[in-house]
């Protein structure tokens, strides 16, 4: 293959440049179109009515009252909902969640959709939904971990084994000089992307046009095709911008499909936007957990055993199990490790992937427990972690494809000033008398690769195009993938037309698992290279070309020209080559996937170290995370400006996990009592006065051809634990229930 600029960063390359967002202009002028911003001709508005009970059935809806409301066109309910070709409880992969689509009167969780009111205006639809005044036959709700008997789920997360171990934990604990056993609880958390799930659906015969946010266009298209028995090709999903996803917009969620059904029932285009309080149930959440950790160390602070038992909850009707124990597979060295999961079934909406699923909750508990173990050993938390540094992945025994965690620790500690930490809890104060605490945590997230396809085009005028159905939920795909595309074609960024965010483009798989840049980027890279290879064939076999005879590997593509590797003064423009060959364009399609051989040999993870400073009012307990420093190593950085933003965002999610997020459920009704952004707290600007992210260099030759690991989720891991540890250091009080609230610190 000819060389394209990506394999070696140098002048003229797009990769590595801190470009501002290419979609920035649209976003700052209000011109970026999100799903609910669309208004096709004849549009109707649909609003869901949702259940106020968590278990039982709907016995009555006042359909007449709703229908009598001026402007109401129809009330969609089980009796008249369009028939589906496939039961929405059909499940053929872990990403296909069972949906509540008005198939019957049963209620399986609070806030389950039970009807949809369709009207000429959003005002009429909203009031129509209220007028339904449902009556129920309610059964006792089960919403707490202790209200059911635990079982071992067949798989956790996206199909991982529920247990993994090495050595003999009991023996390791018996042999230990020091032991701890601690249990941590993490609450139900809701994604709450700023953009509620929304859809504008328009049928034209058996063709369907949808404006709806999607982190997985092809998957959503396939699911919808199955539900309505239409050819996936007849479904166009436009999702140029997602107003955040965080895992909740992967497939088609129930409310989105209800919008499609409503359009079918009404025979007109329909817009359905989930109300904020309706985001607490039918569109997923992070499951609550209780994690029990046992650890032992020898006299020098080396872990002799690490056991991580997770109890979590799924719904009564579907399977997703928060894989909290995964972090213990990889993070610390110990001859004896065991990570296991158990679960109960509750009357709740099905939990699902939420930013760093498993790693976020698992890391919060593990990093807190590691801090407790270090404390028990009388060791500095950083020294303890270095003492137990995993040189190889402990359970699998594989070497890491790359692991610059030591550099992360060192650079983060240096920047933070960790060296001047007084180890004694409650020993530090600021000038105002507030308690000051310093804590740290290790960040980790697997470097995944999924599957994607891209199509590259080089045109006679020398301009390129790259087409891929990729997704931008805020991570910056419009920019980062375009940078990769430009380099793959040896073109300046402005000479490449980059298209994404629509289901009629090549399938880019899923924007999830922090793998989208690596996966979609690899497909783009390969597609561009394939075009350049064809171009090089044309040139090097053409006697009229200065590149004649150079051989395919003897040329490089840069700035719209092919150059001889052995003499860069000899070359010619892409347009000249195509022109002489009489070609209008060169097109190539390529796919990316993980390399099973490399994955057999290596453990692949991004790593980081997070250092947190908290201030705690000594009498009143109120907590502020006054400073965060994160140092992360995640392979090649495509765009440092955007990557830094991903780290900031992840760390703020860590603040949120540690101090804020918590769905409060009434145990009697099973209803969530704080289903609003006023009472379900996420951090505001004033909560995060100082955050720094250090990009630690790391070269990974194994993860993929581009050397890219993910950056979207790692920031939350490590951070929640670091904050919890800082609170302990500030106060001497160890709170083992997240979020950590001020009442626990009153002493």
């Amino acid at each position: 293959m000819p060389e394209t600029a990506v394999t070696r960063i140098r002048h003229g390359s797009s990769i590595g440049q801190p470009l501002t967002r290419r979609d920035g202009l649209l976003k700052v002028t209000g011109a970026a179109t999100y799903a609910a911003d669309n208004h096709p001709e004849g549009l109707l508005h649909a609003v869901m009515a949702v259940s106020a009970i968590a278990r039982g059935r709907v016995t009555h809806l006042d359909v007449a009252a709703a229908e009598a409301h001026p402007g109401v066109v129809a009330v969609m309910r089980p009796e008249n909902a369009p028939k589906l070709a496939q039961h929405p409880d059909k499940k053929d992969n872990p990403f296909a969640f069972r949906l509540d689509l008005l198939q019957d009167a049963n209620v399986r969780y609070a806030n389950q959709p039970i009807a949809v009111v369709i009207a000429e205006t959003v005002e009429a639809a909203t009031e129509g939904a209220r007028l339904l005044a449902p009556r129920y036959e309610a059964e006792a709700a089960r919403t707490a971990l202790d209200t059911d008997t635990p079982f071992v789920p067949p798989a956790v997360g996206a199909g991982e084994e529920p247990s993994a171990s090495t050595g003999d934990v009991e023996a390791g604990l018996t042999a230990a000089a020091r032991r701890i056993e601690v249990a941590y609880e993490t609450p139900s958390q809701y994604h709450n992307a700023m953009e509620p799930h929304a859809i504008v659906a328009a049928w034209d015969g058996d063709r369907l046009t949808l404006d709806t946010p999607s982190q997985a266009l092809a998957m959503a298209q396939g699911r919808i095709a199955g539900l309505f028995d239409i050819d996936p090709k007849n479904i166009l999903i436009r999702s140029p911008f997602l107003g955040g996803g965080f895992g909740s917009k992967a497939g088609a969620a129930g409310p989105q499909v209800l919008g499609i059904m409503a359009a079918k029932l009404a025979g007109r285009p329909v817009k359905l936007v989930t109300r904020r309080e309706q985001m607490f149930g039918p569109v997923g959440h992070r499951a609550q957990t209780r994690q029990t950790l046992r650890m032992g160390t020898d006299g020098e602070g080396r872990l002799t055993a690490l056991e991580h038992r997770t109890l979590t909850a799924s719904s009564t009707y579907d399977d997703f199990f928060e894989p909290s124990g995964g972090v213990s597979h990889t993070l610390y060295a110990s001859p004896n490790i065991s990570a296991t999961h158990e679960a109960v079934r509750l009357d709740i909406g099905t939990p699902m992937f939420m930013r760093a699923p498993g790693e976020a909750s698992g890391s919060a508990a593990l990093e807190s427990a590691v801090d407790e173990m270090a404390e028990a050993c009388g060791m500095d938390p950083l020294a303890f972690r270095l003492k137990n540094y995993a040189e190889i992945e402990p359970i699998s025994g594989k070497p890491f494809s790359s692991k610059a965690l030591r550099e992360c620790y060192a650079q983060g500690a240096e920047r933070f000033g960790w060296g001047s930490r007084n180890p004694a809890p409650r020993s530090m104060r600021d000038e105002a008398g507030l308690l000051v605490g310093w804590g740290m945590g290790t960040a980790t997230f697997p470097a995944l690769m999924m599957q994607a396809e891209a199509r590259a085009i080089l045109r006679a005028d020398g301009r390129g195009a790259m087409l891929i159905g990729a997704h931008d939920m805020g991570q910056g795909a419009w920019t980062a993938l375009a940078q990769i595309a430009a380099d793959s074609l040896g073109l300046d960024l402005d000479a490449v037309t980059f298209e994404m965010g629509s289901s009629d483009l090549p399938n880019a798989g899923i924007a999830g698992g922090s793998a989208h840049t690596a996966t979609a980027g690899s497909a783009i890279h390969e597609a561009g290279r394939a075009v350049i290879a064809q171009l090089a064939d044309l040139a090097t076999n053409d006697e009229a070309s200065p590149l004649f005879g150079a051989g395919n590997a003897g040329v490089i593509a840069r700035d719209g020209s092919l150059l001889r590797r052995d003499d860069e003064s000899r070359g010619e423009r892409f347009s000249e080559i195509l022109g002489r060959a009489g070609r209008a364009e060169i097109v190539a399609t390529a796919k990316s996937a993980s390399d099973p051989a490399a994955r057999d040999h290596y453990a692949m993870h991004a790593h980081g170290a997070v250092f947190a400073e908290v201030k705690v009012d000594p009498e009143l307990g109120q907590i502020l995370v006054s400073r965060l420093v994160g140092a992360f190593a995640a392979g090649r950085i495509v765009n440092p400006r955007l990557v830094r933003s991903q780290y900031y965002g992840g760390m703020i999610w860590g603040v949120s996990f540690a101090l804020h997020e918590h769905a409060v459920t009434d145990a009697r009704s099973g209803r969530i009592m704080n289903a609003s952004l006023a009472e379900y707290h996420v951090p505001v600007n004033a909560d995060v006065p100082s955050i720094e992210a250090i990009l630690v260099e790391e070269d990974d030759p194994h993860v993929n051809a581009l050397g890219i690991k993910g950056v979207g989720e790692i920031g939350i891991t490590g951070t929640a634990g670091a904050i919890a540890n800082a609170i302990f250091h500030a106060t001497g009080i160890r709170v083992r229930e997240f979020p950590i609230t001020l009442d626990r610190l009153l002493g």
């Binding site: 106020a52 001026p70 005002e123 909203t126 009031e127 209220r130 000038e431 105002a432 507030l434 201030k615 009012d617 009498e619 009143l620 307990g621 109120q622 502020l624 101090l659 804020h660 409060v664 459920t665 009434d666 009697r668 009704s669 209803r671 009592m673 704080n674 609003s676 006023a678 009472e679 707290h681 951090p683 505001v684 600007n685 004033a686 909560d687 609230t741 001020l742 009442d743 009153l746």
Partner: protein, 352 residues
Amino acid sequence: MNRFDYVRAGSIAEAIAAASEPGAAYLAAGTNLLDLMKGGLTHPTRLVDVTRLPGLDRIERLPDGGVRVGALVRNADLAHDADFARAYPSVAEALLSGASAQLRNAATTAGNLLQRTRCPYFYDPASACNKREPGAGCEALGGETRGHAILGWSEHCIATHPSDFCVPLVALDAVVEIEGRAGRREVPLEAFHRLPGDTPERESVLEPGELVTAVRLPGEAAGFAAHSRYAKVRERTSYAFALVSVAAALRLDGGRIGEARIALGGVALKPWRAREAETALVGAAPDAAAFRRAADAALAGARPSGDNAFKIELARRLIVRALTLATAGTPERMPALPASVFAPASGDPLHA
């Protein structure tokens, strides 16, 4: 929200006439009313828009040195009125610690007084609530009650009043001016809100059709300006309701407390004036022991209404804190984080 008639009132008399019909409600900024209507919690059949009423948007100096704040004065305008903030700094601080800049730009003086509780069971139309439906019962009892009342609650209602603004107002003897069909009347703010008793649906002394036209602060209350603070404990650094808040104002006479004013927010269904605590402080040296005695006096009658016993101790400590801050002196400039425990203790006192 339900359909309603929209009436734009041109005069106070017209407004009162229009609002005296059953089902009518006044609309000013609507920051609370629309929220409640969207939640299906209140269903007025007529909204009487009073935002155009002349003369209600003024801040007037009174002959006694006090100030009269028109019912339509926006919270932000009042807080940023330099003369007002100098005379009543704790009121400005409380205003700026509440809600968000956007809401403060819209919300009015009278609307703030009349805002309804944030009790999650009140806010959940599927829960029984005596406020929404007299006699329905109180589902908050035995539920999620971390934020509920510790003072003045009853078996019929354990909700709290969410206002920050009202807390220093009640401490400073604010008076509410009201007009209705029967003419004008005045009610001390302390008597304006009602405790739940067995009629929690009656939240204030307003009769149907009555309109709050102004809130008055006496000139005498400006005498506390040098030692007047508002302190608010919340679970987010900003944009959060108080778990507990305290307004504290002191008049110091030669190293002794000449007069003290203390009120609490987030603890009862009304802004809670702590008169016993005030009495306990008169003549005492402003020190921790005296503050603690005052705090104990203020919370003597407190009892948890659920999982909220911590609020009693929190309120005690916050009283001590607020009194300590008030003793140190009102800061020259509004803290960057008004009423926050994380407000940097920088800058010289306003009146050294």
